[in-house]
């Protein structure tokens, strides 16, 4: 990249130059008083393209979806005060799922900070608990180095969002611009290689295992370690499960894949987690939605190997025997080297047991139903898109069904808010994913409640001609809330019914898109086929689905991983 040395630039010009130097394609944002000079500079160039969202939450989610689907850093730009507070939900969403993002926020001029100025909000203070790191730039001379640090921190080590707060007067002051080539921080040195002795121990354990199990999370996707994971699992003939965040790391339709584990994981995956003798956990964190009650999980003795870039994820909820801190691809490369040309493990009895668990067919549903079953829609979505779509989702029942029924064959195709569980994530995340992958098929699986939380972004989709396919599973309920109320609150459906829903077809049309209502099972597949054939259009498919359908299996909150409620009616 060309570099102008010794040229005086304004702070606003520096911001844009830094983004260019970082090779940023898209900035998702919304202008306002404190960032006017930055927007003025964006206007004067065409390297960095700006995507105008309709609400700052959408900007953060779009940058997030862009990053998840592309391996690149997502960037968003918002103004001070409400611009920042609106973005906080999106920043916290990215933080919980370790998504590399740089958030540039405008701030009132330095002399006005602390004066309760118009649109003033302590951005650094309010986002501190939900960013990897944040900065307030107090001197224009620090601006370029700070932005460089932000990009470095966001994508190195355990990734995460980094916020840079820029007071308005800093954007008008000028100084000599020079973009630093490298960053050195004495207080921040993420490890790469894992400890050789520990890796040896781990391999030894695996080779001696009678009932091995591989459990992997979002870390494998984020660190692009899917090839190494697949090589390891296939070479040794191991059973493998992925968390909600880890889907796609191992092919969803492979025989060695046991499906997702956890609260709504498959019977076979959860049983194998509990009954294995050696558990290899990679880039996962044994959270409450995955292993349920940790005491119950600890009842069965097993040796646990845990590979993670973040030492604080190790032995947080579950004590492990062989911790390995390191970058997953590097660690797995070392593991594979030690394995050389080892043959698959001789673990036939274990596989027999797993197949017996699998034969319970825990995901079956009523195929003869006259009302559309949500599972059926997702099964058809998988078929119609040939398993090749990038699928984003919101949060709730539809998210779990998508995770269960769409068999992701590649990483970075399943994009959802796993940690924070943010309703409203799906549509803006799909925008980011579509921009990062022009020409790719992008579907947003959502529900009538979630979609209304960031509905305004339908307008952004029109402006940038984003041909997203919205699969709205409309059961007129906040389905997951309703399910919990049915199971644990005596069928008292307190405030979970969505009355006075809009006519989604007209609504889509109002935004200039195509809308379709589907209310019969026989129409599901044709409607999907027709929608996905429309390559240049956003199609909003409103599927009226069974209001009483529940997600099975289910581990009730606080229960053990094998204490699953299974579907009874079949």
């Amino acid at each position: 990249m060309d570099r102008i040395k010794g040229v005086e630039l304004s702070g606003a010009q520096i911001v844009v130059r830094c983004l260019q130097e970082e090779g940023v394609e898209y900035v998702f944002g919304y202008p306002g008083g404190a960032v006017l000079f930055i927007y003025d500079e964006l206007f004067k160039q065409d390297k960095v393209r700006h995507v105008l969202v309709r609400h700052e939450q959408g900007a953060a989610h779009a940058a997030d979806g862009y990053s998840r689907s592309s391996r690149k850093v997502g960037v968003c730009l918002v103004t001070s005060g409400p611009g920042v507070t609106n973005a906080v939900t999106g920043i916290a969403t990215a933080y919980m799922d370790s998504i590399p993002m740089v958030v540039l926020t405008g701030q009132v001029p330095t002399h006005a900070i602390g004066q309760d100025a118009f649109q003033e909000c302590d951005a650094v203070g309010s986002t501190r608990p939900c960013v990897k790191h944040n900065f307030l730039v107090k001197d224009v001379k620090d601006l370029a180095a700070t932005i460089k640090k932000a990009f470095y921190l966001a994508q190195s080590g355990r990734p995460g969002p980094v916020l840079v707060d820029i007071p308005k007067d800093i954007t008008t002051q000028s100084c000599e611009f020079q973009y630093p080539e490298t960053v050195a921080l004495r207080s921040y040195n993420p490890v790469k290689k894992g400890h050789a002795g520990q890796i040896k121990k781990a391999v030894q354990l695996l080779l001696e295992a009678q009932r091995p199990m591989v459990y992997t999370g979002g870390g494998v996707v984020l660190s692009n370690a899917a090839p190494q994971l697949r090589a390891l699992v296939q070479q040794l003939g191991l059973p493998c499960t992925n968390t909600l965040m880890g889907l796609g790391a191992y092919p969803g339709n492979d025989r060695q894949f046991l499906g997702m584990l956890g609260m709504h994981g498959t019977y076979q995956a959860n049983m194998a987690m509990q009954h294995c003798d050696v558990l290899l956990a990679i880039g996962a964190r044994f959270d409450d939605r995955v292993i349920g009650n940790p005491e119950h999980f600890a009842q069965n003795p097993r040796k646990i190997v845990h590979i993670d870039i973040d030492p604080s994820s190790i032995s947080k909820r579950v004590k492990v025997d062989v911790p390995i801190v390191g970058n997953i691809p590097d660690v797995l490369d070392d593991v594979l080297k030690l394995l050389q040309d080892r043959k698959p493990l001789d673990i036939q009895p274990w596989w027999k047991q797993i197949e017996a668990w699998r034969s319970r067919d825990c995901l079956r549903f009523d195929r003869a139903s006259k009302i559309i079953k949500p599972q059926y829609v997702l099964e058809k979505l998988y078929e119609v898109t040939g398993g090749e779509a990038i699928v984003t989702s919101d949060v709730g029942q539809h998210q779990m069904w998508a995770a269960q029924f769409y068999k992701f064959s590649e990483p970075r195709r399943w994009i959802n808010s796993g940690g924070l569980g943010t309703m409203g994530f799906g549509l803006p995340a799909a925008m980011g994913a579509q921009l990062a992958n022009p020409g790719a098929t992008v579907a947003c699986v959502t529900g009538e409640s979630s979609i209304q939380m960031c509905l305004q972004e339908l307008s952004t989709c029109k402006q940038y001609r984003l041909p997203i396919k919205i699969v709205n599973l409309n059961n007129k309920y906040m389905g997951m809330v309703r399910q919990w109320q049915q199971f644990f609150h005596g069928n008292r459906y307190s405030e979970s019914y969505m009355d006075a829903l809009p006519d989604f077809v007209k609504l889509a049309e109002g935004y200039g898109h195509r809308g379709v209502l589907i209310d019969k099972p026989a129409d599901v597949e044709p409607a999907l086929r027709e929608a996905f054939a429309r390559k240049d259009e956003l199609v909003f498919m409103d599927f009226l689905t069974d209001q009483t359908e529940n997600v099975y299996p289910m581990i009730p909150g606080g229960k053990g991983i094998t204490e699953m409620i299974l579907s009874e009616e079949l």
């Binding site: 203070g125 790191h133 921190l153 004495r186 207080s187 973040d310 030492p311 032995s315 947080k316």
Partner: protein
């Protein structure tokens, strides 16, 4: 168990709140916290006294290390160390109590650093238990005001914390 943790941290605005925020956000205890610059002006040293099981303390040190501005963390209680805290205590010292109060301060190796007609201000240094003992030893009605710095600590001998 009680642990005393020393932290070297970049001397930047917000570093203190990042650390205290981590403790409150994750529900960890802070019994005391002290912070001041070191001989290297770019760094501050912080001492946190906290209480928790071994698992909790392990998480605390990991979470501290994870903060970008934290340069180094040491759990001083893992090995031999020295711990000191300073207290300024203002006590009633009218004609009647003056003698006794002076003697009590001497016993605890405290120094009287301010005197008025009816008060003494005593400076006392030691580990936390010694300061507690001094407060216990006084007639509670005699105490007008106390201020304690919180503990700071250092490893014994060759055990050092520096970059």
């Amino acid at each position: 168990m009680r642990h005393i943790i020393s932290i070297l941290v970049e001397n930047e605005a917000g570093a203190l709140s990042r650390i205290s925020n981590m403790f409150s956000a994750r529900g960890y205890n802070i019994e005391s916290l002290t912070v001041a610059p070191t001989e290297d002006a770019s760094m501050s040293r912080m001492t946190v006294v906290t209480v928790g099981s071994e698992d909790v303390i392990e998480q605390i040190t990991k979470q501290l290390n994870k903060l970008v501005e934290v340069v180094k963390v040491v759990d001083l209680s893992e090995a031999e160390h020295i711990e000191r805290e300073m207290m300024l205590i203002k006590v009633r010292a009218g004609a009647k109590e003056r003698e006794d109060m002076k003697r009590m301060a001497d016993i605890f190796r405290g120094r009287i650093i301010d005197v008025s007609d009816n008060t003494y201000t005593i400076e006392l240094t030691g580990d936390g238990r010694k300061l507690d003992a001094f407060i216990q030893a006084l007639d509670q009605g005699a105490i007008i005001e106390t201020v304690r710095t919180g503990a700071s600590g250092i490893g014994r001998g060759n055990r050092v914390l520096r970059v």
